[in-house]
Symmetry: C2
Subunit: 588 residues, 2 copies
């Protein structure tokens, strides 16, 4: 399996399309220049290709071992983790105050793409720590921040999110885990948590679990849930490691993919925990972290689509089979490389045109994460927060769906050789498959988009975005041929948006039944608009790279975007046939 980090495309998007001036306008990132950024990305790419990709298949074959209550990661994971720590890759966007490198989150996300591409199972050990770091940095008391964060940024400790319980995953209002205040201000946390990513492992000295539980007497539902930091190993007063806390790994899951990642069931039995933030406000704190994590998960899908594309392209250039249609490259040969078959080119381009467009959308959204957190201007921060709120379910669902569809198409290019484990293509699919499920299934993302992001402040933000695209189209309609299809798609999206808004008021169930189709219509249209913006930005440029960008944009418009026509129709005319069915109809 090969991987060549797409640094060129990333640099094009950040340096040329977005512009380094936009990055430098964010306080704290004034000095980042494009040479340094390129160096960082190239080094990250090398680390991923050289250290993580080679242990990816062995990690899948070997899996995580659970033996006598101890979790052991696959061969090579510990060495790779130590190299990750030594390279400073655990603190890319972390605050220098805690030992981080203070780089933009955008840079973190770009590197996340590479990590996810080369070894998703491995990446998750660092990823959840990173998410936990942000939560603690934003919401924990100063004392907790000082005790926990520097070790997490350094990577010597890691973190988890403990949300799901056997009877609840998507619906956290049903959480039963409970907490009781001790005399010293700490809590006793008790409950059974499942699906805890990196819940136990042998890579770090300690693990800080972030656990949702109810304090005795708390209200029912989502408003009675608090958040606790529960270390695997308790700390002595001087910060050194003390006794084991009362957290037991009950089992690990045997999964379809990411088999090198330890997904644990943890039992907390009067474990000592520290309240984070206010009582009963834990869910909203956790959701801020989950939202950032949702973007990262979309990026994972993007990375897997990219590596799948690279390997399918490589195979298609090498593997000869059948004669291509005329004019054949060499008529004397028995067979041609399969890339000469138009169907194979179509398959490859369907991945590529979506990956490059989706990466632009991700760069846009991730830059707004930086603006949201750090801009000096409150108006900019608010607008950025709304933009991020709008794009979070889009990035999570569209990019992870793209990972799943792309790894499948790439596997198909390999034919029977894609079905055997040897080439690694089937693993890419199995690993990518989790991304459409965890941190809220893509259907949950679609419901979030439809029921919470189309009205109020975020809804207004969507309208402004639509208007900005219309302005763009207006300006370039005569010179850029991608404008026409994108404009048509945008008209459909606006119409479907109005349909959803009306139904939300009149008959919510109908709007919710259209959620996933609407999410896809929004995503495909948005990517088309970003493609137009890219083509506009390079309209004066010549050379192969830019010519290929223009061709790829055109392919997207002709081959991918037409689905929006069908989606619009299903959304606006399909609700009555769905409403025809009652639950009873499913019993026969």
């Amino acid at each position: 399996m090969i991987y060549d980090a797409p640094v060129k495309d990333m640099m094009f998007l950040v340096d040329e399309w977005l512009g380094m001036d936009k990055i430098n306008a964010v306080p704290g990132h004034e000095d980042l220049d494009s040479d340094v950024l390129q160096f960082i990305l190239e080094e990250a790419g090398k680390f991923c290709s050289n250290e993580l990709l080679p242990i990816n298949r062995e990690g899948d074959e070997h899996g995580v071992i659970f033996d006598n209550g101890v979790v052991r990661t696959p061969p090579g994971f510990k060495e790779a983790y130590d190299a990750l720590v030594a390279g400073g890759w655990t603190g890319i966007d972390a605050d220098p105050e805690y030992g981080g490198q203070g780089l933009p989150k955008l840079v973190q996300y770009l590197i996340d793409e590479m990590l996810g591409a080369c070894n998703l199972a491995f990446k998750l050990y660092a990823e959840l720590s990173h998410a936990a770091y942000h939560l603690l940095a934003n919401s924990a008391s100063e004392e907790l921040r000082k005790r926990f964060i520097p070790k997490m940024v350094a990577g010597t400790w890691s973190g988890t999110m403990c949300l799901s319980e056997p009877h609840c995953g998507s619906d956290l209002s049903l959480i039963k885990s409970r907490a009781k205040l001790n005399d010293d201000g700490t809590y006793q946390v008790t409950g059974a948590k499942i699906f805890v990513t990196s819940g136990d492992h042998d890579l770090t000295e300690n693990i800080i679990h972030l656990v949702l539980a109810r304090i005795a007497g708390a209200p029912a539902g989502t408003r009675g849930i608090s958040l606790f930091a529960v270390p695997k190993i308790l700390l002595n007063d001087d910060g050194s490691l003390g006794a084991e806390n009362r957290v037991v790994t009950a089992s690990i899951e045997h999964k379809m993919g990411i088999r090198g990642s330890a997904t644990c069931a943890l039992n907390f039995d009067q474990a000592t925990g520290y309240l984070i933030g206010e009582e009963n406000r834990g869910l909203s704190t956790m959701f801020r972290m989950m939202n950032m994590e949702r973007i990262t998960i979309g990026i994972q899908g993007l990375g897997l689509a990219e590596i799948a594309y690279q390997n399918a392209r490589h195979y298609a250039l090498e593997r000869t089979q059948g004669k291509a249609p005329a004019p054949r490259p060499d008529d004397r040969k028995e067979s041609d490389p399969i890339i000469f078959h138009p169907e194979v080119q179509r398959m490859l381009l369907s991945i590529r045109s979506q990956v490059e467009g989706a990466r632009a959308m991700a760069v846009f959204a991730c830059h707004h994460v930086d603006l949201m957190g750090k801009s000096a201007d409150e108006g900019v921060r608010n607008h950025a927060a709304d933009t991020v709120a709008l794009f979070t379910p889009i990035i999570k669902s569209f990019l992870s769906d793209l990972g799943v569809s792309s790894t499948q198409i790439a596997q198909q290019v390999f034919g029977g050789h894609g079905y055997v484990r040897e080439h690694g293509m089937e693993q890419l699919f199995r690993d990518s498959r989790i991304t459409t499920i965890y941190e809220g299934t893509n259907e949950i993302q679609a419901l979030d988009l439809v029921s919470r992001k189309l009205t109020g402040r975020v809804g207004e933000c969507a309208d402004r975005l639509f208007q900005s695209w219309e302005t763009l189209f207006e300006e370039h309609r005569d010179s850029i041929d991608s404008v026409e299809p994108a404009e048509t798609a945008l008209i459909r999206l606006r119409d479907a948006t109005e349909w959803i808004r009306k139904k939300l008021e009149a008959d919510e169930g109908l709007a919710l039944g259209a959620a996933k189709n609407y999410q896809r219509l929004f995503s495909l249209t948005a990517v088309a608009c970003f493609w137009v913006d890219i083509v506009v930005s390079i309209r004066e440029k010549s050379g192969t790279f830019y010519a290929t960008k223009r061709k790829t944009a055109r392919f997207y418009m002709q081959h991918v975007l037409p689905e929006t026509e069908a989606l619009h129709k299903v959304i606006t005319t399909g609700s009555d046939s769905l409403a025809d069915f009652s639950v009873e109809d499913f019993s026969h």
Copy 2:
């Protein structure tokens, strides 16, 4: 995991929609009545649910073991295979002359759906024998038929197809295996074959390999390939088992799914083989068998979609999570079964509406397989053969794609619980994934449809079929509301067909680049037409079953069929952006 064989729907399609009179009009099947058919299907369903489903997950977890040159099937497979043999399930449609039951192939296909649903890995051991039986019965000399066939029909011997070699799969013109005539009229067969399903195992006393190889001096390419029967164990003159033949199992593949099925690499080293049919005509003989097998593989996908649907529906009725939109079933409860969420209903119906429509299409095509082989009227036989030729790539690709998409949707309904192996949902996907690849990838099917099935006699057959649907629409336009969308789709299909036919003459590459999209447009439209035909056939019927059929048809028209609009557009307007790309563009 649950499975309730869809006997009711099968009986509806065969007995009511197609009509037993059509079955009875085929020579040899005059006496089959609907009570007997229903009894057979129910017994087959019980066998699959009770004997095969319970060993499906263990077969996946344990896999096939290759130890010291010996292949061992998973626990329970031998016992289940003995029960399959004892029940007479290996000779359903085989000729009574050889000990078969002489039932229609249509019945075989219906039972194939159940077998594929409950344990695809297991099914393959009998399936390839069954295909080999048909090939030998049609093409082998009387002597070979007498020696081999009765044991294969009884199931005490099995069969394989040995086609692929390391350097060739889709393109069999590149085959290198060779054969040399012995003095006694037998041949010495030498070569390396890969991807041999059931190439070795411990279920039967002997295995008859059907091997493609070149006789010394044969022409290059596809016209120099002959077909040989090569037994694993040689026969003595009295037909008893003698010495081992020179066939060695080199290895077994480690695969994404169907892990209980032995996919072998076999080395033939001057193995004794018997020529089947004429020299150098082996490929066309093998292709007749492969075409029947392609239909079976589509049916496998259909079965997997059905069992995925049943389990997702079951889970959705049981699992409570979140509050459904108003009116909620019971406002006092904390959460509702997830089937009350419109999005979940939509997911389930997208499977169901395609499965039921696709099953009708399969029944139609499989009935034509019977007509093609047995009708007393030559005109009927020829028309049936053309119909089967047209529908073979459609059934193979659309139904296997449906298996893949449906198992994925059903897995998604389970959320995180679908990703862990425990519930078996992820196995359904992994198993189904091979069906879009083996016996010619679905892209190869699409190329077959576009380049060989739209012109000449089969092309005329397609036009007649389109006309028959138009006549149906004409008659019922005013009374059946599904006519309008189906008619619109058919207009698009006819237009795209003309586009393809023109491009085939003018610029073949453009037609081939539209192949997969065209295959899907054809399939979705055909299913819509079959749905209309069903709705017409039950227009006077009342009761829940028929009412649900009508609602399901309507859902299909509103939610599934609109994709044809996008496909038509991509086919007819997308060829230039694909043609923009040259192979060089893929090197950067």
